[in-house]
């Protein structure tokens, strides 16, 4: 019911934008900017680039406002644009691999220390999500982090519903595997079990 109201509200806003109402456009931006940022940042892993993609997404929404099809959900349209832009960015990265000069100056130890820092469960989960293969990551982020219905995820990713379900399930299983040692460790700590010195 709530989702239905949200959907209706989106339709009203985009209709107003089509009639030239900039206040409605501002409202759309405020409603979605952080949601998109959360999804795109997890795909791209760069705050600046993720923000640029979110900006570009809204710009394209504005440019193509007249061609929005009211048979579809507005959020689906928005996510599709954003994820296509993110995919393009990732493809570009694959084509041109950048080397950080910092890596070449013997700072490997500092980097290793930095990698060890996230120790609480959300941070470990965040790292585990980052390390997922792209197709699982996208499905997982949309379904479990952004809480989009399976049907919408299928439309956004342009793949069959069954494939989305299996990818999300696979992503969850992979995450569970990655989190297992950390969760067992924290359970053992909470129960007061003696741990090897190396883990402390």
């Amino acid at each position: 019911m709530e989702k239905e109201t949200e959907k209706q509200r989106d339709y009203n806003l985009i209709r107003r934008v089509q009639n030239g109402d900039m206040v409605a456009f501002n409202e759309i931006v405020d409603r979605y900017k952080d949601r998109l940022m959360n999804a795109i940042y997890r795909m791209i892993q760069s705050e600046q680039e993720a923000e640029d993609i979110v900006q570009e997404t809204f710009l394209r929404v504005y440019q193509h406002r007249k061609s929005f099809d009211f048979r579809h959900c507005f959020s689906t349209w928005l996510y599709t644009i954003a994820l296509n832009l993110a995919r393009n960015e990732l493809r570009k990265r694959k084509r041109f691999k950048f080397f950080d000069i910092f890596d070449m100056q013997g700072h490997e130890n500092e980097i290793a220390v930095e990698m060890k820092l996230p120790s609480n469960l959300p941070n470990v989960l965040e790292q585990a999500i980052t390390s997922l293969p792209e197709k699982y990551k996208m499905a997982f982020i949309l379904r479990d982090v952004q809480e989009q219905p399976y049907e919408e995820v299928a439309k956004i990713m342009n793949i069959p519903l069954g494939t989305v379900k299996s990818r999300v399930n696979r992503a969850r299983a992979l995450l569970r595997e990655k989190l297992k040692p950390r969760m067992e460790e924290s359970n053992a700590l909470s129960k007061g079990t003696l741990l090897p010195v190396s883990l402390l």
């Binding site: 456009f25 710009l59 969850r172």
Partner: protein, 224 residues
């Protein structure tokens, strides 16, 4: 249901995504299997951790930067419309018709002249011998008509230039009054088609400026 299958369905079970029949089967298994129950607890813990993930937010100047880009986009649309009106005057019927008529006339004359040139050594028809040659006078008249057509076309172009210059004046005025604003709207027009208003957008609101002759300023603020 065996442990292996239950583990496969466990995350979907914890998210209430299974059918009633499967949910029942998994629940029955969990009641009898402590190992799978531990796994279920772990999956539920992971799920609750998703809710604790850090939320990323855009930078504070996100909206103003975006609105600036949108303003540029709107200006581009306006500029295109100013120079390329929907109805291109040179192609409208009332402008094309005289040009076509004049062109036909000129072609007809050239063609006739050519025929005359070709037939110069031939005997003129007996009926035309005693008639005066007034074709030169006709040509002069026709040339004047063509000149009129060109003047009409120039006038349309001048109108376009004047419109563009009015937009430019308004923009200069906007940037003088509010240095951080950007010209956004398609200019408002009087019923006669003259530009009389333009809207500027700047962090915090819109402002509509009128053309120099009316001198009224209307301000619209974005509702917070």
């Amino acid at each position: 249901m065996r442990c292996r299958k239950v583990r496969y369905f466990l995350s979907a079970y914890c998210n209430d995504e299974l059918s009633e029949r499967r949910t029942k089967a998994v629940r029955e298994h969990l009641d009898n299997c402590p190992e799978c129950r531990r796994e279920e607890a772990a999956v539920r813990e992971m799920q609750s951790t998703i809710g604790d993930l850090k939320g990323y937010t855009v930078s504070p100047d996100f909206n103003s930067r975006l609105l600036k880009k949108i303003a540029e986009e709107r200006f581009k649309e306006t500029r295109t419309k100013a120079f390329m009106p929907k109805r291109i005057p040179i192609l409208s019927l009332n402008r094309v018709a005289p040009i076509v008529a004049a062109a036909c006339f000129v072609f007809a004359f050239i063609f006739a002249g050519g025929i005359d040139g070709i037939l110069i050594n031939e005997e003129p028809p007996a009926t035309a011998i005693n008639q005066p040659d007034n074709s030169y006078a006709t040509v002069r008249e026709n040339t004047d008509q063509t000149a009129n057509v060109h003047r009409t076309k120039d006038w349309a172009f001048q109108q376009q230039l004047a419109r563009a210059s009015r937009i430019k004046d308004l923009m200069t005025r906007l940037s003088n009054e509010s240095p951080f604003s950007t010209f956004v709207s398609q200019p408002g027009r009087t019923p006669a088609g003259r530009i009389n208003t333009a809207t500027a957008i700047y962090p915090g609101g819109f402002r509509t400026f009128s053309a120099p002759e009316t001198l009224t300023v209307r301000e619209v603020s974005i509702g917070n």
